[in-house]
């Protein structure tokens, strides 16, 4: 049965790769690479090619306001944008890189999911909630999440549309996987690269530290304390073997392993200085690191490019009065930072889920969102399919996502190409999309907290049974 499942999984993976390859061979990438949903000023490969061209003609790649990405990405993808294979689509090599990145990303999600699941069911068994753990094992959430990531139309569109967000997503997932499997160098590398590429994943340092410190997602820690009290209460009744195991589990659950965290911080320091040195060498004759930061992070934070995307900030900053601009820039970016602490306090026993919520919030509030970001959090959502099975409005949300992703291109077409609609039409779909994302984040957090409540309830009921 297991083998059959595995075969079934791989055939779906291969199917998704074949679908991508077929789409790549359509002429002009189906015009996906110029869609505002796919290519933002940060993720567009065309701008990267322009940056590479400028670099080749010995001008700074950041001269002009075209390229705002990382210099490392430029060295990696730049040569691929100009190499043409005879008789093949223009950007075949780049597309292949993105397809590979997508597949690796899905594999990492799967591996992380398996690790999460094993850890979670063992925790549940430790608490004695056997039927729950069996239930959670029924659904292979890793496979599920990987397939959701691979077959998500958003991912496919971002991959075929030559958006560099595939690589950013890969780095984020790499850091989460590294943290799940306690490989500190990998986690640090993923985090440093993700932050370097798109800045917003910087806030993921909290979930990664929690993951390394406490281990993967678990039921609320309070239950383990109760269990411990219980163990102390009737230590005579339980046999010594399971007690040892229980002690280990308790240690795992409670002891914040500072060693790994310090290691992680050390590796972060190492990797980030490495990346900075590389970037410094690259931009040495073009104004140095300060210019680089101004052109990349400054561009992200000040929202200079007002071309439409699926977010709401472009229109907001196209309309807002100039003297309020700085204020609202601070407010919107502060909004991301404001929720970090409350979420971290409430969900610290579920660091992976916390990472998912952070990614969701930042992809909703970031300055140049694209569907690639949505693809990442929707893929990660699959990891928590079991815990979130009681989520409210899931059908409403699903139809909302479908509706927005169908309406938004229509409104864009009406506004930009036909000139029969105006900007408000497109902005309305962006607002709707933001609302759906808000509902998703609120409902998923609420469902996760309810799941924890349910666990607590079941466990206290069980405790009372044992006591009586």
């Amino acid at each position: 049965m297991k083998k059959k499942k595995v075969q079934w999984f791989w055939s779906w993976v291969i199917g998704s790769v074949i679908l991508r390859l077929i789409l790549l061979y359509f002429p002009k990438n189906l015009n996906l690479s110029s869609r505002p949903e796919v290519s933002t000023p940060l993720t567009s490969l065309r701008r990267l090619a322009e940056g590479y061209w400028l670099k080749q003609s010995s001008v700074s790649p950041y001269a002009g306001s075209m390229y705002h990405g990382s210099p490392l990405l430029l060295t990696l993808l730049g040569p691929l944008t100009v190499t043409r294979v005879e008789g093949q689509p223009d950007h075949l090599l780049c597309s292949l890189v993105f397809v590979i990145a997508d597949v690796i990303c899905a594999m990492l999600i799967r591996a992380a999911g398996e690790k999460l699941q094993v850890a979670y069911s063992s925790r549940l068994q430790f608490l004695g909630l056997h039927n729950l753990s069996e239930n959670s094992e029924l659904l292979p959430s890793g496979d599920f999440a990987a397939l959701v990531y691979l077959w998500n139309p958003f991912t496919i569109v971002a991959c075929v549309g030559l958006s560099t967000s595939a690589i950013e997503n890969l780095m984020v997932v790499l850091s989460l996987y590294g943290a799940c499997s306690r490989l500190t160098p990998l986690a640090a590398f993923g985090w440093v690269m993700a932050t370097h590429l798109s800045l917003y994943p910087a806030i993921l340092i909290i979930p990664v530290i929690l993951l390394l410190g406490y281990g993967p997602d678990a039921p609320p820690r309070k239950l383990f304390w109760q269990r411990k009290n219980l163990d102390v209460g009737n230590s005579t009744s339980s046999d010594s073997c399971s007690e040892e195991e229980a002690k280990n589990q308790l240690k795992m659950a409670h002891v914040f392993s500072w060693r790994l965290v310090v290691l992680f911080l050390f590796w972060t320091l190492l990797w980030s200085s490495y990346v900075l040195v590389l970037c410094g060498i690259y931009v040495q004759q073009y104004g140095g690191l300060q210019e680089l930061f101004k052109r990349t992070y400054g561009f992200i934070l000040t929202i200079q490019d007002l071309s439409p995307n699926i977010g709401v900030l472009w229109y907001f900053f196209a309309e807002v009065f100039d003297f309020f601009r700085n204020f609202f820039l601070i407010v919107f970016h502060g909004n991301i930072l404001l929720m970090i602490a409350p979420l971290a306090l409430r969900l610290n026993h579920r660091p992976c889920f916390l990472a998912f919520v952070y990614i969701l919030i930042s992809s909703m509030l970031k300055s140049y969102p694209s569907v690639g970001d949505s693809a990442l959090y929707l893929g990660l959502l699959g990891l928590f399919a079991y815990e979130l099975k009681d989520m409210q409005f899931s059908f409403f949300l699903f139809s909302g996502y479908v509706g927005v992703s169908l309406l938004s291109p229509v409104m864009h077409n009406l506004w930009i190409w036909r000139g029969t609609g105006n900007a408000n039409f497109y902005f309305a779909t962006a607002i709707a999309y933001a609302c759906f994302q808000i509902i998703l984040v609120v409902e998923s957090v609420s469902a996760m907290l309810n799941h924890d409540r349910m666990l607590t309830k079941l466990y206290t009921a069980k405790l009372q049974n044992v006591k009586s």
Binding site: D322, G419, A434, V445
Partner: protein, 595 residues
């Protein structure tokens, strides 16, 4: 006085030229020359306009040209190879370039001041050229070897009498006497093309290289349709006869007399070589000279064509929609290049050098890597034809994009198309002009042919004293401007800022509020527990703190005994001091940074 050795001189001249398409070109040429003394800043001039000399002194201008143009010069019909078209065919609107004699870092400041002064002097919005997004510093495709040059155009500028009047004021006789009295405003502004131009040069003395004086050339080039009712009533066969005209019929005014201050006032009739040979064949040259009312009466139909530039350049936009597009510059060979091919057959390979200067405003985001070249409708490798290339990409809200190309084409080439793709930018609502839906203008590209020189040769040497004729004889590279392109840009809804702000902020408030609500919601037993805690409210805070610290230490909090209720101590706690210190620190930092 030494300076008196060189006198101030003024000359007025008018050149009239029949054009092949039954129109008349009138080219007024006023030249004002003044010696430049070291202390001439506050000097009184007899003829030379003081405002201009002050301008030159103040901003250290080496050379400057300002033109106001309405209409487009028709290179195909009116010619593109003679000095008039190279010098006086200008892009629509205002074009200004200036070369400064100041250190590099002061050039921009001088330019900004100059634009403001000229704006005041000519009642035009030249001050818009002050912003760094509207001017650029082309290096070698345009007026090379002059030094720190700044170039800017305002294609949208409407040219009217309010610009002409201050221009006339610079003439010693204004429009009261002399040739300028012909300038009847309605007939000038009814014309197909008119361009008023002001050119300042500071010729350097041969002996010591210092500036010897200022030469101010003011030209007005008008292309008029002779108002001939007889011709319009004629039959179809007879309309081929060029309409007869006289100065009074085309301008509606007569010359009352010469400007007495002018050293020279001449009127010239200019016939092109093609026309002259035609006339020689006919042996019937019929012109009428009344008193101060030059005219031309045609008896026989004559057909000729003007000489063309080596390549006829035009520019157009490709693509639809408001998201992206492409600019294409097409170069078509004319009969002149065909002549070149036949002439140069013996030589191994005849090359045609073309310089292209293309300036695009920042909201047209050009992808320079998409530059493509089609020669004879076949895509070609760029490196085979591009001799040199300089690109300074546009920066959002800071500088325009400049592309300078030096291309080498084989002479036998029929056509070449340069195309480059761009994305249309999206602006802040305040950056749109009042008529945003009309679109934005991309200034003309400048195509020049450095290997070809436009200069007329005259048989008679006696006339060489005339400034106009010597100007026409001057060898200067052939230059032509392409069309101004109108790019429609997408507009946001201008009436909506408040709605957008409120709706967006509501959505974010919704997010913040509902997420916070979910995070701090308690249900069932948790509620009861909280109520219990409320009973012991006095120690609640302390307990929470204990719990927090216990959590941080990783120890269960249940084991800690509840402390006595001494948390509300009236003494100054270290925490309070810390808080006060923090506030003070923030205040100090604020004070420090705000200064």
């Amino acid at each position: 006085m030494l300076a008196a050795s060189a006198e101030e001189e003024f000359s007025e001249e008018l050149l009239l030229k029949p054009l092949p398409d039954r129109k008349i070109l009138a080219h007024f040429h006023f030249r004002n020359e003044a010696p430049l003394a070291a202390d001439s800043f506050a000097r009184h001039h007899h003829l030379f306009p003081k405002s201009i000399s002050q301008l030159v002194q103040k901003f250290h201008i080496k050379a400057m040209e300002l033109s106001f143009t309405q209409g487009r010069w028709n290179y195909e019909r009116w010619g593109g190879f003679d000095p008039i078209s190279s010098h006086n065919a200008k892009p629509p609107g205002v074009e200004l370039w200036a070369v400064f004699d100041v250190p590099q870092h002061q050039v921009d400041a001088s330019w900004k001041n100059l634009t403001h002064s000229l704006s005041g002097l000519f009642c035009a919005s030249i001050n818009f050229l002050e912003s760094s997004t509207s001017y650029s510093a082309p290096e070698w495709a345009f007026q090379s070897a002059l030094g720190s040059l700044r170039y800017g155009t305002l294609p949208r500028e409407a040219v009217c009498t309010e610009n002409l009047t201050p221009w006339l004021k610079l003439l010693p006789c204004r429009d009261k006497a002399g040739l300028s009295s012909l300038m009847d405003r309605p007939s000038i502004y009814r014309s197909f093309y008119h361009s008023q131009r002001l050119h300042l040069i500071m010729p350097t003395a041969v002996s010591d290289g210092s500036k010897s004086g200022i030469i101010l050339e003011q030209t007005l080039t008008v292309v008029l349709q002779p108002n001939n009712q007889k011709a319009s009533m004629n039959h179809v066969g007879e309309t081929k006869i060029q309409p007869s005209w006289s100065l009074s019929s085309i301008f509606g005014r007569k010359i009352s007399g010469r400007c007495v201050l002018a050293k020279l006032s001449n009127i010239y009739l200019h016939f092109e070589r093609g026309l002259v040979t035609q006339l020689d064949n006919l042996q019937k040259k019929s012109s009428k000279f009344a008193a101060n009312d030059t005219g031309l009466t045609w008896k026989h139909p004559v057909v000729w064509s003007s000489s063309h530039a080596p390549l006829y350049a035009s520019r157009f936009l490709m693509g639809s929609g408001n998201e992206r597009g492409a600019i294409a510059i097409s170069l078509k060979s004319t009969e002149m290049t065909k002549g070149l091919v036949s002439a140069n057959n013996v030589e191994e390979r005849c090359k045609l050098q073309v310089n292209v200067l293309q300036i695009v405003p920042w909201y047209v985001k050009v992808y320079y890597h998409t530059l493509q070249l089609l020669v004879d409708e076949r895509p070609q490798v760029l490196a085979d034809f591009v001799e040199r290339m300089r690109v300074s990409p546009s920066e959002d809200k800071v500088s325009p994009g400049v592309m300078e190309l030096v291309l080498q084409f084989p002479c036998e080439m029929k056509s070449a198309v340069l195309s480059i793709e761009f994305d249309k930018g999206f602006l802040h609502i305040d950056e749109y002009p009042p008529d945003a839906n009309q679109g934005f203008d991309i200034p003309s590209a400048i195509i020049s042919f450095p290997d070809f020189h436009a200069g007329l040769q005259f048989c008679e040497k006696s006339q060489s004293k005339s400034p106009l004729l010597s100007k026409l004889q001057e060898r200067s590279p052939v230059l032509s401007y392409t069309e101004v392109l109108l790019v429609p840009l997408t507009t946001p809804d201008f009436s909506m800022p408040y709605n957008v702000i409120t709706i967006t902020c509501t959505v974010f408030a919704l997010y913040f509020g509902s997420l916070l609500n979910v995070l701090r919601r308690r249900v069932g037993e948790e509620e009861r527990l909280l109520k219990n805690k409320d009973a012991k409210k006095a120690v609640f805070l302390r307990r929470m703190l204990n719990k927090l610290s216990a959590k941080l230490r990783g120890r269960p909090s249940e084991s800690t005994p509840s402390p006595p209720s001494s948390s509300s101590s009236p003494f100054v706690s270290p925490k309070l001091i810390l808080r006060v210190l923090m506030v003070a620190g923030i205040a100090v930092a604020w004070q420090y940074y705000s200064q």
